[in-house]
C-alpha cells in the first residue's frame, strides 16, 4: 500500500553537450596543420664551433694535407685534380698511416656549396677527424 503512494521524483536529464562543434574545430585544426606544415628533413654540418675558437692549435704530431677545391668542384692535390674515388683512397691511406692527419681545404670562390659539402663528406667518410676549411678574406 505504501509503495503505491510513493511519489517518484522525475529524473532530470543532464545537459546535452553536442560533439558536432568539437568535431568541426578539430577538423579545421587538422586541415590547417596538414596544409601549412612543410616536412623537411634537414641535417647540419658545423662550420664554427665554440670550442674550436678557443682551442685552435697547430698540428705538431700529425701530417697536414692541403687540398684545393677547384671552381669545377674537383679536389686538387699538388696541382693535380683528383677523382672522388682517388681522393677518398688517398685520404684513407693518409689517415691509416697517421690518424692525426689534418686536412686543410682551400675552396675556390667560384665552386658551389654542393662541391664543398661533397668533398667534406668524402673526407669524413675516409676517417678524417681534423678538417678545416680555409677562408681567404677579401683585401680591404
Amino acid at each position: 500500500m505504501a509503495n503505491e503512494l510513493a511519489l517518484r521524483r522525475a529524473r532530470r536529464t543532464g545537459p546535452l553537450i553536442s560533439l558536432v562543434p568539437m568535431i568541426d574545430v578539430m577538423l579545421i585544426l587538422l586541415v590547417f596543420f596538414m596544409v601549412t606544415s612543410t616536412y623537411l628533413n634537414l641535417d647540419m654540418i658545423p662550420a664554427v664551433k665554440q670550442q674550436d675558437r678557443a682551442g685552435r692549435q697547430q698540428n705538431p704530431n700529425g701530417e697536414t694535407v692541403l687540398i684545393r677545391l677547384a671552381a669545377d668542384g674537383a679536389p686538387v692535390l699538388n696541382g693535380k685534380p683528383l677523382a672522388p674515388e682517388a681522393f677518398a683512397t688517398l685520404l684513407r691511406e693518409r689517415v691509416k698511416a697517421n690518424p692525426l692527419t689534418q686536412v686543410l681545404l682551400l675552396p675556390s670562390g667560384a665552386a658551389t656549396t654542393q662541391s664543398l659539402i661533397s668533398v667534406m663528406d668524402i673526407a669524413t667518410r675516409a676517417g678524417v677527424e681534423r678538417l678545416q676549411v680555409i677562408r681567404l678574406e677579401a683585401r680591404p
Partner: protein
Amino acid sequence: MKLNRPTRNTQSETMIALIDVVFFLLVFFMLIGRMDATAPFEVSPPLASSGQDMPAGGATLAVAQDGSLAMDSVSIERSELEGLITGALAADRDLRLQINAHRDAELRHVLPLVGLAETLGVGDVVLVVTPETRQAGP
C-alpha cells in the same frame, strides 16, 4: 500482431570513431610538423651523408643561388646583415646561426657569411644540408 523493429542507434558510435581518428591525426601533425621560417626564394640545401641532426631554434640565414639573402624568411641586403646578427646576439648570447645555402650557390657568397658571423662573435654556425641516403656497400 505487428512487431516493431527496434531502432538501432549507430550514429553515436560512428561519431566516436571519427573523433578518435581525427584527434590522432591532429596530434600527429602537431607533433611532427615544425614551425620554421621559410625563405622567400627557392633554396635546395646541398646533399650530405655525414650531417648531424639539427635541433630546432636559432636564426636561419638563407642564401639563394644568385647570392640573395634572407634572414628568418625576410629578404635583406648584405649591408643589413651585420646589424641583424648583432641584434640577434644581443638577445641571445648562445645564438646558433644556420646558414641555409642553395646547393648551387657559389662559395664566394656563402663563406664570407661564416667569417662575418664568426667575427661578430657567433660561436655556433652551421651549414644546413639535406641528408643523403646511401645504400650500404657489400
